[in-house]
Structure formats: C-alpha cells, structure tokens
Amino acid sequence: MTASDPVLRVRDLKVHFPITSGILARRQVGTVKAVDGVSFTVNRGETLGLVGESGCGKSTTGLAVLRMLDITSGTVEFEGEDITGYDRGRMRPIRRRMQMVYQDPYGSLNPRMKVADIVGEPLVVHGLATDRDKYRARVADLLRMVGLLPDMAERYPHEFSGGQRQRIGIARALALDATLLICDEPVSALDVSIQAQVVNLFMELQERLGLTYIFIAHDLSVVRHISDRIAVMYLGRIVEIATRDQLYKDPLHPYTKALLAAVPIADPELEAARGQQIISGEIPSALRPPPGCRFHTRCPVAMAVCKSIDPPMRDMPDGRAVACHLHGG
C-alpha cells in the first residue's frame, strides 16, 4: 500500500437534506445534516471500512462520493480530478471507474432481465457493446471472475440464491474498468455461512485486479477482516480514523470503545471474562444533533467542555485522527 497514491480524497463533505412543510407554499422547517463535515482519503489498492450505526451517515457518504446525491459543500476528488461540481454528462466517464455494490441482492437486480443483460448493461450504456461476440465473451469472463458459470448467463435472478445474486451484482460493478468499488453492506443480507464466500471473493478480486474499496458495514468483525483502515462515524461525522490494528487493539474515541465492547465474540469463556461496558441511550436525531460533541449525551467519560465545544478532528502522532477532547486538547 502506497500512502502517496490517493484514489479518492474527500474534504469537509456535507450532505444536508431540507425538511419542508406546507402544501402550497413549501417552506423549509429544518435540515437533516446526514453528513456534516467528513474528510478522508482512500489510497490505491486499499480497503477503507466505514462503520457506524444506522443514521450515522455512512451510506449517504458513499452515495455522495458517487455523486448520486447532491453535495451541500466540500470537495470530492477522484484520481486527482475534482468531481464535486460535475453534472451527469461529465460524471459518465467517471462512473466507469467508480461503481457501487448494493446491500440487497434481491432489490438491486431487475427480475425481468437475464443475467447476461444485467451484467452487460453497463457495457451497453457506455456504448462498448458493439461487437456481439466480444460482448458475450466479456460477460462470460465476468461471470467466471466472480465464481459463476458462463452458461448461467441466460437465467433470471430468481433462479439464484442470495450469495449468487451478490456475485452477479459484483460482476456488474466490474463490467467496466472500475478501480474504486463502493460496497454498501454487501454481505449483511446473506446467511452467515454464505458471507465468508462473498468476503473472500472481494479479497481475491482486490488482489487480482488491484481494486480499491470503500466497505460500508455495521458488522465490526467483517469490517476488521477486510479493511486496511477504518473510519468510525457517528451522527454525520467521522469520530476516529485509524489503521485496523490501531483501531481494534487500542481504540481512542469513547464511541469506538463502546462499539467494540458491544460486539459479542463467539467464545463463551472469553465472554464470561470480558467486562461489559454497555453505553446507554440511542443515536439522537440528525435533525437536532446535540451541541458540542455529538456523542456527549451517551459518552461515559464526558466532561463539561464536551457539552459546549465541538471537538475538531486532530492528527495523532501515530498517524490516526480522533475527534475527542480527551485526545490532544
């Protein structure tokens, strides 16, 4: 992994959704700050895990990077090109290199299309399907690449299991020359015995094709297995971003600590010995985030300053960054 070769650079990204009211004269009555000042870099060939609980803004961040949502402010730079202000037409060539893998292997495939057409559609859309034989050969290659048989191309999605459908979704994402895949909860809808198959496929493809991933998930064990670095999000902000070993062995932010403590480990003896530090409360509404540090309402070590002053993201000597008054005030 070369730290000097960023594929994606996101700076102070904000995605706000207006809340409107009224029938004739719609007026804005509030703002949901789904993503509220997020910065990170993803280097070529690495996997950045994006974790957090529902409503933290991890999926919105993914969609905004792909420019599938309007960006309120901030910049998104892809392979050195600032794409923040790009319209549909200018995004089109970018999308060949930046693709999405969705969570729901049932909802994200058109049930009336054959697998060949689903996987080949990006080629058609981008005008790359001029030669029929080449097109067929490419689809067969893609299916083989994700561990499916080329003769499955003539079947419909309902003939496949959840794990196989997710493979179809991955093949579609790879149909063009994607370098960056944004994977939004790609294994969480799958049965546990199937998840490992798909996780391993992601890792093999990364090695073989030199892919870069943003892996969005709530399952901290899966994220740990697949990621090189991890960003932990809470209420629209990144609270800690660190390498895998730093984050899991020595978490700094109290929220990261709480998240890790909440995950049960499949070992009854270890669980019995593990002290359970369970934090109280639930994520507050993104419509009215708490003042100061957004986590202070649930933080077991909150201080007076946390209630009024929003801690900025600070770089630590070991290379990670944390937004907490306990660290580097």
Partner: protein
C-alpha cells in the same frame, strides 16, 4: 434429575406449498430447564422460528400444521389443549418477543394499553391496576418517565424503545418461559447489547427460562447456557455452550465457527467458507441435509439419516463421524 420446564418430543411441523409438502421442523426434541437460557441457532430456513411458533401453537393452519410430537410444559401437553387452554398459557406462562417490534405492536393502541393488556386479560385486574403495573414495567425495562409515556403510541418510540416495550409486555405476567425470536436483529449493535443485557438480567431476576433464537454465534456465546444448532429442519447438535464452542461435534457447527470472522480473530488467516448454500426444504436429500456441503461426507451420509446421539455427556450430535469432527 428434576422434571424440565419444557420438554419438546419428536416435533414435526409441515407446510403445504405449491411445490409440495415442506417439513420445516422434522422430528425435533429438546428440553428447557427452569431458569436456563437455551439458544436455538440456525440460518434462514433451518426451522428455528417455526419451532418457536409451534411451541405456542402460532402456526397458521392452513398452510401449516403440527404433524406430530409432544410439547410438555409444566406437566401438560400443549398440543392437547383446546383453544381456550392455549390462550390461557400465551402471554401468561409463556411469552413471546418477536424480531420486528414495529409490526408486532398495534399501531392504533397506546403503549399503556398494550403493556397492561396481559395483566387485565390473564389476571382479570381492573384497568386502573393494570396501568399502574404497566408504569412499573416500563420502569423495569428502563423507559424513563413511564407514567406519561403510557399514552404514547408505538410510532413515537425508537426501535430500541419499542423492543423494550415488547419485553415489558412479555414480562407482564411473570412468565416461566420467554421465547425471544431474533429479538435484536433489527437493532444497532450498542442497542442490541443494551436489550440483551436487560433481557438476561430480568429473566434471571424472575427466574424465567428463555429460548433465544438467533443466527449470531457471538450473541449465543454471551447469553446462552445451552445451545441447539438447527439445519434443514433438524437439530444437528446440542450441548452446553462452552463445550459446543470448544469441541463442536458436527461439521456444520464447526464450519459455521470457522466461516464467521471474529473481533479477536487472526486477520491473516482467510475465512473458511462453507461451500454451497443452505438447503431447500422442499427438496431435501434423503440422507443428512448437510451432506451436499460437507467435506467429510461419504456415501452413507447421502442415503441414511444420522440420528442425534450422545457423543459426550450432555453433548449430542447428528453425525455418523461425530468423534472425528
């Protein structure tokens, strides 16, 4: 040994579907002792939820039907009770907590009405008393300001709070057994930890037994005393939690443990997936349901059903090669 609180014997539940009769639960037997937590683990289609619903006779008929077996609870066979008899048990002696609190709560009734209903119904207490009791129950499940929140509706609660309401309802009549079917699957991990810890604490306090249905091996490790692993409608392994994790005696159990990444696992070691996919209950093979995915399977496994046998004290496995797993 004392009489178990619940004793399920040779339970079979089938469903009629367009593709023929499906045996969702096939000859399942297990016991639950007073005060213990039994986890039933399995993937979708393993029969774990149908087992739970069968205990309370909540299988919709048609298309479903409990075909055979006994479900002896506190000395009575629940399958022999008439409708009034089983209604008197549900929500009183045995309570159920479902996965989806939003669809299991009535959106048109206040939380107070719903938490108070079992007390009003089973204890024939007047509503004023039932609502007092409901306030107390909301306090128990740590919903602050219970009295005023009695008049709220479920949609005014968050997902975690709704699941607390479900627990309050389940605890209302101090049941001897609580069946919790994936109670935290829809919740975030910090809320899951809160809810499960609360459930464990309150069941321990009331000395209620619990059947915890889940697919999460971590949750099982943290909360269960004993475990039954289901696959293809059958129990394939059952044991106290520690020996089950330490020395699994069924290839499916072992396979699950090796395929799931752990928070403390070795990240350099690739995950070992179980090949293939969970079985289709309509077309189960004649032998062991796991045989098509099993690395140890031999010809015998494909034609003959391995029975559940005791491989170590209190540790049962349905594998011909249980001593070699």
């Amino acid at each position: 040994m004392t009489q178990p609180l619940l004793s399920v014997r040779n339970l079979s539940t089938r469903f009629r579907t367009e593709r023929g009769t499906v045996r969702a639960v096939d000859d399942v037997s297990f016991d639950v002792a007073a005060g213990e937590t039994l986890a039933i683990v399995g993937e979708s289609g393993s029969g774990k939820s149908v087992t739970a619903l069968s205990i309370l006779r909540l299988i919709p008929d048609p298309p479903g039907r409990i075909e055979a077996g006994e479900i002896v609870f506190d000395g009575k066979d629940l399958l022999k009770l008439d409708d009034a008899g089983i209604r008197a048990i549900r929500g009183d002696r045995i309570a159920m907590i479902f996965q989806e609190p939003m669809s299991s709560l009535n959106p048109a009734l206040t939380v107070g009405m719903q938490v108070g209903e079992p007390i009003n119904l089973h204890r024939r207490s007047p509503w004023a008393f039932a609502l007092d009791k409901a306030t107390e129950l909301l306090g128990k499940v740590r919903i602050p300001d219970g009295r005023s929140r009695l008049n709220s509706y479920p949609h005014q609660y968050s997902g975690g709070m709704r699941q607390r309401v479900m627990i309050a309802m389940a605890l209302a009549c101090q049941p001897q057994l609580i069946i919790a079917d994936e109670p935290t699957t829809a919740l975030d991990v910090t809320v899951q930890a809160q809810i499960l810890a609360l459930l464990k604490e309150l069941t321990r306090e009331a000395n209620s037994a619990m059947i915890l249905i889940t697919h999460d091996l971590g949750v099982v490790a943290r909360y269960a005393d004993r475990v039954a692993v289901m696959y293809g409608g059958r129990i394939v392994e059952t044991a106290p939690a520690r020996p089950l994790y330490k020395t699994p005696r069924h290839p499916y159990t072992r396979g699950l443990m090796e395929s799931v990444p752990r928070l403390d696992g070795d990240t350099e070691r690739p995950l070992v997936p179980i090949d293939g996919q969970p079985p289709d209950l309509a077309t189960l093979p004649p032998g062991c349901a796991f045989a098509p995915r099993c690395k140890m399977a031999v010809d015998r496994c494909r034609v003959e059903r391995p029975p559940l046998v005791e491989t170590m004290p209190n540790h049962h496995s349905a594998c011909f090669f249980h001593d070699r797993v």
